[in-house]
Symmetry: C3
């Protein structure tokens, strides 16, 4: 299986591709645990070009590359540092950098920048977040986590909680999950942050059941996956609105009591206050395992892109 650019989740709407990706990620995890990883990317160079800070995402990609024997050239804040300040266009930067690397991982605040980069680069480009656009490797590690934790992707109920208006993570995961049988969604959000109509129409067309609710407590005993996201105070029109709603989106040990024993709690991280620290001890808290899965998914993607060249 050979991959080229990784720009959008829409490239991956194939259960058989996903199954293959998950298998490779599983293998990487096993080999990592047993210290039997092969340095299959020896001699390859990844350029990590981050125009805005995201240390966790960058570290995850760089560790993935290095665990497979590859090497990395990196800039952690290209926006402040590079010739960007001399007025150089993203296109020119990418054309030049693609002469120095075998793959480019790009984080950029502007929607569409990863696609633009892929059109001028002489090597594959991986989108590590393009503003309000997409963050496809996050979506892939999210669905991988569900499969790994629950052992299935069909027949599951998923609550997505928090800022469903701006959460690109939520939108991408929703589309990937729609590939599977008998999925039911609960969208838990204040009305100001409800899921955009475009995604609601998408689900209706695919005849996937969903329900919008405002209080997290209504869904806790019904779901297999509780996907939390940050609700930022500044998204609300008034502080009154925020005060009314904020407790509806906070997870603590008391809310946990109503959650199914077999359910899992996910979060793309960083969290602020929407999950209490006490929840970390609960075995259903899957968010740190989810972050670690990012390493194995990114190793698998890098292998698909580079290993058989």
């Amino acid at each position: 299986m050979q991959l080229n650019h990784v720009i959008s989740t829409k490239q991956f709407l194939s259960p058989s591709f996903l199954a293959q990706l998950f298998k490779l990620a599983d293998k990487n995890e096993e080999d990592d645990r047993n210290n039997t990883l092969k340095r299959v990317l020896n001699g390859k160079i990844m350029a990590a070009v981050f125009y805005e800070p995201s240390t966790r995402t960058r570290f995850s990609f760089e560790s993935a590359m290095k665990k497979l024997g590859g090497d990395v050239i990196t800039t952690e804040s290209a926006g402040h540092f590079s010739s960007a300040i001399k007025g150089e266009s993203l296109s020119d930067s990418i054309r030049i950098i693609s002469g120095y690397a075998d793959v480019i991982v790009l984080r950029h605040p502007r929607r569409g920048s990863a696609k633009l980069a892929s059109q001028v680069s002489s090597v594959p480009v991986i989108n590590a977040g393009d503003g309000t656009g997409e963050h496809p490797t996050q979506a892939l590690l999210d669905i991988y986590t569900i499969e790994k934790e629950l052992g299935r992707l069909d027949n599951i109920s998923v609550a997505m909680v928090g800022d469903l208006l701006n959460g690109r993570t939520i939108h991408s995961l929703l589309i990937l999950l729609s590939l599977y049988e008998n999925i039911r969604f609960y969208f838990v959000a204040p009305s100001q942050l409800a899921l955009p109509d475009e995604y609601q129409q998408y689900l209706k067309k695919k005849r996937i059941e969903f329900m919008e609710v405002q209080d997290i407590h209504e869904v806790l005993d019904k779901v297999d996956v509780l996907y939390m996201t940050r609700v930022q105070k500044e998204r609300f029109k008034s502080d009154y609105d925020y005060q009314q709603l904020k407790n509806a989106y906070i997870l603590d040990t008391s809310t946990l009591k109503r959650l199914k024993n077999t359910a899992i709690i996910m979060h793309p991280l960083p969290r602020v206050s929407e999950i209490s620290l006490e929840v970390d001890m609960d075995k259903r808290a899957a968010y740190f395992r989810q972050a670690k899965n990012g390493l194995y998914i990114r190793m698998a993607l890098l292998q698909m892109i580079l290993a058989n060249e």
Copy 2:
């Protein structure tokens, strides 16, 4: 051939040295294309110490080092970050860092800083730009590009266009080209940004033909190399002056029509508006190949410095 510090273009005023360097660069390119590069710098460490941002130059050096099996420790903005802010002198920093690395690549805004560094360092120092001083590896990759694209360095006509007053790139290249037979220069610049008298005297003493012109259109059908540089609006005394002249230094497809078929267009990059994007498609546009050549020249220099130690 063993090299120590790389501080100034003036170290390289030898056609036989340059021929050897180019041969090594050619070999690196060929081996890179065939995936047959040998990891001759295995176990060696390069410190990239950048006191001002230059992601492209840094990436080029780091990729060069890593493609040859070496490793890198790097700081992308030492001026903001290092103990510079606690008042430590450059000399002390370099003395310490030279204990941790086998070669230091230094970018610093102050003219003369690379020379100073070489005097206290216990390992070789490569000047990657010292303010209004020099940027010798840029000059070497420029002349390498001309040789590679045209197949010769004797008998060529070169137009240098734009800011010839402040362009250290231009000054260094001019001196290197003066080593060869039957070179003719056209200096295309507004009078405010004309080539300094010191370089004009140099050419006169070496009996090298040159002509100053103000409009790029006068030279397009005469030259083998059209070397463009940025003309910055803020260099002009009045906006009126700038408006009068700015079109004289912009290259687009209409100006291209008058350029020889066998000529090449160079630019040290980043460009702003002096070369239209449409020019990129023209086979004579050599500036991205030029940037890539930086990789092979830097690999060759690192080998000359480190490989036979």
Copy 3:
């Protein structure tokens, strides 16, 4: 000998541990000189997580890791760049990063942060400075330097000069030296920057001789080690106080004349003006050798932590 976290100098109050560490450091230096270092950390990844700038310390750790064949993922200013700005806690960052690395080197401005990190990390944490807290690898390289330069740790007289109130380096070294026989301290500081009572009590309890003096000239002919630190003007209540005292803490060739021939001059660096440049030529000036010793001590620590896993 297996190590886990390196958080505090207090973990190392054992002459036999220190002797073993020094032996390993000696071996690393010898192998480095002879180009016979073994890549024993091949496949291991160190995360350098610096929430405040310290290029020298970071380079020293990264060079140590790479000389032993390991690899590094790094952030040079996590405080500006990371999800710290989105409000993520240090604990969450460390938990996630510990999934991507085999050891974490943490620099953080808050006292106690390294300990906190070690409590949530799934891999060993090395404290590379936690604000007013500790910087244990600096203390270890300091005492290693004394042993290496003088050939002994018993029967020595040590002057500590400058800011003894805030100097965590001084405090840690004092405690380590107290492990040995027949140590005598001279504390040379203005009264505003005197050694805190807690450390004076510590020495009294251990029956270690010490004397407080205000002028460096009183002790020059008595000491084996002259440990200089920065005295910052802003620490003084009035400029008058500062002017009165500043010359008492400056080392130049005239003061040097009174220093024993066999003594050594140390400084944790960066220096500002407390050691004149002319002193660098004196063979007793050990501060650059001291900085280099940091490399070998850190190699030894990384080996103890990672090599036998």
